[in-house]
């Protein structure tokens, strides 16, 4: 084995099947489908993206996804910034719309993966806030994963490579036994850089084909 642990080869030269599927949440399994925030921004005469450009700025988002502040504190901080820039009423309406924003889970993808690779362990690996557990409960998803790795609990985020090493440790797995699915190319490239076979998620069909090749 060389410096970075890579493929595990069986004695007969075949490549070892992977038994650990690291899968991202937002953009892969969860999709934000509602237009609540856009509608609120339009009604208030604000540019589209006013809320999210602020909420997802590094300054405000990073403390929330590294566990420095809770999900609720993050919203409070975002609201404070909105009040500074607009009015208390505008801030309240945007935060309300954000809290009501609707999302859907791609159960079909999850079901198809599990049919295809039923013996693999499924590890949710996500940059998330302290609200993740509640969201998983709400979607009846908690038992869908063998392990959940939440950046706000371990204090390190994708695409930092340490996130992947720690996710593998928590999952009791190794680089050579794992695959990774994510819709962020930065995250995919980071995982690949330490030797994890990865796919940049774009559609279900390609993802299933990738899993079929790697894990079956």
């Amino acid at each position: 084995m060389l410096a970075v642990f890579g493929y595990a080869m069986l004695k007969d030269g075949r490549r070892q099947c992977k038994d650990t599927i690291l899968i991202d949440f937002d953009g892969v399994l969860r999709h934000w489908v509602g237009s609540e925030v856009n509608d609120a921004e339009r009604t208030l005469g604000l540019a589209s993206g006013t809320l999210f450009s602020l909420a997802f700025s590094h300054e405000l988002l990073f403390p929330a996804i590294t566990g420095e502040v809770t999900h609720e504190q993050w919203h409070e901080r975002v609201k404070s910034k909105l009040v500074q820039r607009h009015t208390d009423e505008v801030a309240s309406k945007l935060i309300k719309a954000w809290n009501e924003a609707s999302w859907e889970i791609d159960f079909e993808l999850l079901h198809s993966l599990k049919q295809l690779a039923p013996t693999c362990q499924y590890v949710l690996v996500t940059n998330a806030t302290s609200r993740l557990d509640a969201d998983l409960q709400r979607a009846s998803l908690r038992s869908a994963f063998n392990v959940v790795v939440n950046s706000s609990q371990i204090g390190v985020t994708k695409p930092d490579r340490l996130f992947f090493y720690q996710a593998l440790s928590i999952a009791d797995s190794q680089v050579c036994r794992s695959v990774f699915i994510d819709d962020s190319l930065d995250n995919v490239n980071a995982a690949r850089s330490i030797g994890i076979e990865s796919i940049h998620y774009q559609n279900v069909a390609d993802t299933l084909e990738f899993i079929r090749k790697q894990c079956t």
């Binding site: 060389l2 410096a3 930092d160 340490l162 090493y165």
Partner: protein, 176 residues
């Protein structure tokens, strides 16, 4: 037990005591360790030096006091004796470097009883030396798992865990 000195210089006939290049803060009574000495590492701790001399690195070991929580987060899944984190930019130098391991006579040295370090106040003539040309293989032989990060900053907190951590040449680490 054997004592070694690792160097990128293949032609050292005699080790002459010299002060450390960059003095570090020492506890009262130990200031002399910044003075002219020959330094050696005992064989059980040589893993720390199986790297290009200037390569910044953080080595982790489990200890009997390592908690289950730290084990789960940092180690589970790995069968390594030692985890070593380096910056990605140092991977190629690690893969291609040649370093020289000088075997030193133990009689000249006294133990610092700290991380396998020994010092001598007199000149020391090495018994032998060997060139280590494939460091990844040396790591593999000693069950050292090498891991790369963009930079070592995410590991700043590792000294607060129940793992044993050693940082070497961290002054060369990006933004450290």
């Amino acid at each position: 037990m054997q004592l070694f000195h690792f160097s990128d210089n293949p032609n050292i006939d005699v080790f002459v005591p010299r002060p450390v290049r960059i003095p570090v803060e020492r506890p009262i009574g130990f200031e002399w360790l910044n003075g002219p000495l020959v330094w050696a590492i005992q064989d059980s701790h040589e893993a720390m030096y199986l790297f290009p001399r200037e390569c910044p690195r953080i080595l982790l070991w489990r200890t009997p006091d390592t908690t289950e929580e730290d084990y789960q987060l940092w180690w589970k899944g790995s069968t390594a004796e030692c985890l070593v984190y380096i910056e990605e930019a140092w991977l190629n130098p690690v893969n291609t470097a040649t370093i020289y391991r000088y075997n030193l006579p133990t009689e000249a040295f006294v133990s610092l009883k700290d991380a396998g370090m020994w010092v001598a106040k007199t000149e020391v003539t090495p018994i032998s030396s060997d060139a280590l040309t494939q460091l990844p293989k040396e790591h593999q032989k000693r069950n050292i798992e090498l891991r790369t990060l963009d930079n070592l900053l995410p590991l700043k907190g590792v000294w607060q865990t129940s793992l044993h951590a050693s940082g070497i040449r961290l002054r060369n680490a990006q933004r450290w």
